[in-house]
Assembly symmetry: C2
Homo-oligomer: 259 residues x 2
């Protein structure tokens, strides 16, 4: 079966509405040349002042994937995928360029970090979209910022290179379900922001809360509402604060010294 | 001339390699329904735990665009475009959802901010790609984080809503040039990060430095190297630090209290 010969997109709209995260992959390898070509195309995504403040570490060997797995809480897609792509904010290359060219950069601050975060996120998302359009299955790993110092060590990242997000890729194994989304008018504000009334909130989240899956989450976690599942179980304060402290220490050169 | 009837994409690869930023637009309006449809499609971009921690403020009237223009340093595309889309990290809607559902969120920390930043950047980039594929011209405005508090005031943003980036859209007026990009092997690291030698740096940036435009920048700014133009003129330490202080104050609830 040939997966990657067809570069035509019959219908952008139906792609974008039906796209889904793919966590289970067939054993077939994604050719390195396809990964490189997609990364090259993705590098044409918009970037701050054309600085391209990012790097990507491509992990294709089993050894490397096994080493990264615990940093992603052993989610099975890390060892089960064809390649793990760790997208990093990279201020190092820019600073090195300045050093070689008698320039003195002032990039040890919050805005410079923001340039890099946006550049990296846009690059990663462009890759994700192009890969999906080429028939690959992709999954973002939000664990990347939780364990950034460990990932940096595993991937030999120098100073000023910060793991931001990770995408696992492979050819999809079976079907995946598309995720639900809030009604679009919940996201869009015309002209200026309208604060949500209690009634708005109930309406916006009604469909999500009514999903079979949501009701199962509530029951399994012995909660009363889906919001409690999110606030107490999936993204509890204790985890958010623990991982924030780790990340803050890791990126401290870019954060304000005192407040 | 009908711009937006053709949803087929003849060749993804040639789109992605030739895409370009468009700063000049024809007077023709982009229909609101097209903007909404593209935003709806973009909302299917990946999002942290399916939380969709973003909102977008759509500014289509001249009054609104004029009000935003100074916050984007009066770049002409702000008043010259058909619509200004301000993409915001939105932790407010999630917190309101918790409030209405007897849940207590712990989202006043760095990781929560990162969830929101990634969600918002991925949503914005998915919109940008889909809009470009539909023949619209788009331009990101990096000024958004420089003047975040002023934009928040102009757009009536409540607490926990942070302007992250802005995209101006319209039908392209004339041709735009594609930006140069670094050779892709400068971005990709196989297995682990390889630090750049001086020679690597010279090779990676050689093509960019040799561009007619780069040489003009150096001459106009009376500098010796292109890196000096970036470090001294385009992104000088003084600006980076000034705008970092403004942003840090604005998002202080999400940053560590002391270090």
């Amino acid at each position: 079966m040939t997966h990657h010969q067809d570069n035509t997109m019959p219908d952008i709209d139906s792609y974008s509405l039906s796209r889904r995260t793919v966590r289970r992959y067939s054993p077939e390898e994604v050719p390195a040349e396809l990964i490189y070509r997609l990364l090259e195309e993705a590098s044409h995504a918009p970037t701050t002042g054309n600085m391209q403040l990012y790097s990507v570490i491509v992990t294709r060997d089993d050894e490397g994937k096994k080493a990264l797995a615990p940093m992603h809480f052993n989610q099975p897609q890390v060892t089960g995928c064809s390649a793990v792509l760790t997208f990093c904010v990279d201020l190092n290359r820019f600073v090195r360029w300045c050093e070689v060219n008698d320039a003195v950069p002032g990039f040890d601050n919050l805005q410079s970090l923001m340039y890099g975060i946006l550049d990296t996120a846009l690059f990663a998302q462009q890759f994700n979209t192009l890969a999906e359009m080429h028939g690959l299955g992709c999954c973002y790993l939000g664990t990347t910022t939780f364990t950034a110092p460990d990932i940096a060590k595993a991937l030999n990242l120098p100073e000023r290179v910060i793991p931001l997000t990770t995408i696992t890729i492979g050819y999809p194994d079976g079907e995946s379900a598309a995720s639900d989304r809030l009604p679009i008018d919940a996201i869009i504000h015309e002209g200026s922001y309208s604060q949500y009334s209690d009634l708005d909130i109930r309406r916006i989240y009604a469909e999500k809360e009514a999903l079979e899956e949501s009701r199962r989450f509530i029951e399994e976690n012995a909660k009363q509402t889906l919001a409690q599942v999110y606030a107490d179980v999936r993204y509890p304060r204790s985890n958010n604060e623990t991982f924030s402290a780790i990340l803050a220490e890791f990126i401290k050169d870019f954060l304000p010294r005192k407040q």
